[in-house]
């Protein structure tokens, strides 16, 4: 390196930067969508026994988009997940899909972390990576908060575009399509930036068998609150979990004639339920 003219060195660096995108995908482990959710008798949480844990479906779209970007432009994908020991399986799934390395933030201090604290921990882990683009899911289907991506972007002082169904990546910027009520909007954002992925963005790949083998050897860095330098401050608490209100048994409208049944249904909706 020494002896090369400064200009050439800068040029090489710029070229490298252009061709290699530094990508981060945040993945949360959540109960499978098939899971029946049972509230504990004392309302302190949900019964976790028997739950099958999977990658949050929206994070799959984020990982897939990260991999496609890497395949197109070159670069590296780091997946980051905060959660207990079992979360390593979700990190391995992302590595098996093709991500390069993982960071697992594991610390009992983050049990019951709210969105702000989760973002604090993720931000501390992600900041040193100098990512060009970060993917999150538009929401995690456990808490259904849809907060962490935006808070994380704010902590990293970068723009974000939420609930993205289409992404175009050009050097230095992205164009993202986002559905809102009654319209689709196209947003341009400068890099670095954060995207939260919505269904429709892509069709996530399955991990291949060779991918699964390779994933076992990929590096996963384990961090805790102390090594990240984060003090959890949990402000939002779920003080009580309750099952959904029971629905009274419904009425099956009997008879053989579809026209009569339809007429009776319309009458009931108008006179009894008073909803039309």
């Amino acid at each position: 390196m020494r002896g090369r003219p400064i200009g050439a060195l800068n040029e090489a660096r710029i070229r490298k930067k252009e061709e290699n995108v530094n990508i981060v995908a945040c993945v949360k482990q959540v109960p499978d969508t098939e899971a029946q959710i049972k509230v504990k008798a004392d309302g302190s949480g949900i019964e976790e026994g028997g739950i099958k844990w999977v990658m949050n479906p929206y994070d799959e779209y984020g990982v897939e988009e990260a991999l496609r970007l890497k395949e197109k432009k070159g670069g590296e994908v780091t997946v980051v997940s905060l959660g207990p020991a079992r979360v390593i399986e979700t990190i391995r799934t992302a590595l098996a899909m093709g991500a390069d390395k993982g960071i697992h933030i594991q610390d009992a201090a983050f049990d019951n972390a709210d969105a702000y604290t989760t973002a604090l921990a993720l931000a501390a882990a992600i900041k040193p990576l100098n990512a060009d683009i970060i993917f999150c899911g538009q929401r995690a289907i456990d808490g259904d908060q849809g907060q962490v991506g935006a808070i994380l972007a704010d902590m990293l002082d970068i723009p974000h575009v939420a609930v993205v169904t289409k992404l175009e990546y050009t050097d230095g910027a992205i164009k993202a399509t986002r559905p809102i009520e009654g319209a689709q909007i196209l947003i341009e954002a400068k890099l670095p930036c954060l995207i939260t992925a919505q269904k429709g963005l892509n069709e996530p790949r399955y991990a291949s068998l060779p991918g699964i083998m390779k994933a076992k050897k990929k590096p996963v860095d384990v961090k805790n609150a102390a090594s990240l330098g984060v003090t959890p401050s949990v402000n939002m608490k779920v003080v009580k979990f309750t099952p959904p209100p029971a629905r009274a048994a419904g009425k099956i409208i009997g008879g053989d004639d579809p026209a009569l049944k339809a007429k009776e249904l319309a009458r009931l909706l108008r006179e009894e339920a008073k909803v039309i």
Partner: protein
């Protein structure tokens, strides 16, 4: 000491959205319990005139930032402007709508204000001087009661759940300078493609008529579109119908689609998979039309018709048309 119940009003193209009146009315109720004021933040360009409408729904004071950089909505401009005025005034409670814009803006504000928030709440009350929220979790498979120990206590409220109640107040207009730093505005809206059908979004619809795999193909959807037209309803779909390419992604109801709570939900040819039930289970009245008496949707339905939807739906359209004429 944090004081006051604040809302961030939502306007689009110079008109307040209905959710703004719902959050204003809820803020009024909470503020009356606390003996505090309701303040609204109104952001945009050329929108000062809207303050009077907010006053009608119980707002004492409207903080208006009128700046071309606030139109159209971008997260970075609106979050910067809202955070500035909120920090200067230190409210106890801050409410937004759980609309696409409200969800986006509120989450960014949680970061800027270093606080906590309950998303998509279906109930909000004061208990021991503090906000107690109720919100669905796991797409409605259970509910959580939520408290927030920092200020402002933030919440987004699910559209169509909290009533908009007229309760005229002064609505004194206070202008403020959002002091936007152009170097910090890194996003730009380059195109808006409006859905010209004028259809109400599923998340805000009063009535939804949904079709699933039982519809057999995209060519049959006019059947439920006609029923929807008679009822003033929005058409939805199951994931099976969306994944088959019969309906757009934006129509999907369920755990990985839209979580909806209309007054009336009519499911046609939908079996009632757990992910679908999760997304529409909190609808006030559920109707199922399905030829399979064992379909799980009937366990959630208030009214069920076990028959061929191709026979029942057109008759239902006719019957409703007559009733509503």
């Amino acid at each position: 000491m944090a004081n006051g119940v604040w809302i961030i009003a939502e306007q689009r193209d110079g008109a307040l959205r209905k959710i703004s009146f719902e959050i204003a009315s809820t803020a009024r109720k909470l503020a009356d319990e606390l003996g505090q004021q309701v303040c609204a933040v109104l952001l945009g360009s050329g929108i000062e005139g809207l303050a009077a409408e907010l006053a009608k729904y119980g707002v004492d004071k409207v903080f208006v930032a009128d700046d071309p950089a606030l139109e159209p909505y971008t997260t970075d401009a609106h979050a910067a402007a809202a955070a500035k005025i909120i920090k200067e005034n230190d409210p106890a409670i801050l409410l937004l709508g759980a609309s696409t814009q409200g969800r986006d803006l509120s989450a960014r504000l949680v970061g800027k204000l270093a606080t906590g928030m309950g998303t998509d709440c279906v109930d909000a009350k004061i208990v021991d001087g503090k906000l107690l929220l109720k919100r669905p979790m796991y797409a409605g498979k259970c509910f959580g009661e939520v408290t927030i120990s920092s200020f402002p206590q933030m919440a987004t409220l699910r559209p169509n759940v909290f009533p908009a109640v007229e309760n005229p107040k002064a609505g004194e207009v206070v202008k403020f300078d959002p002091a936007l730093d152009p170097a910090k505005l890194k996003t730009k809206v380059v195109e808006v493609q409006k859905d010209t059908s004028g259809k109400v979004d599923l998340t805000e619809a009063n009535i939804i008529v949904s079709g699933g795999r039982g519809m057999k193909g995209p060519e049959n959807y006019p059947l439920i579109e006609e029923l929807a037209a008679v009822l003033g309803a929005t058409v939805g779909a199951s994931r099976a119908a969306v994944d088959a390419g019969w309906r757009p992604q934006s129509d999907q109801v369920g755990q990985t689609g839209k979580i909806v709570s209309p007054n009336l939900y009519i499911a046609c040819g939908i079996s009632g998979a757990i992910q679908h039930l999760a997304g529409m289970g909190s609808s006030k009245v559920i109707v199922a039309i399905n030829k399979d008496p064992e379909a799980p949707i009937f366990a959630k339905a208030d009214y069920g018709v076990v028959d061929d939807l191709f026979k029942v739906v057109p008759e239902l359209t006719k019957a409703c048309k007559e009733l509503l004429a």
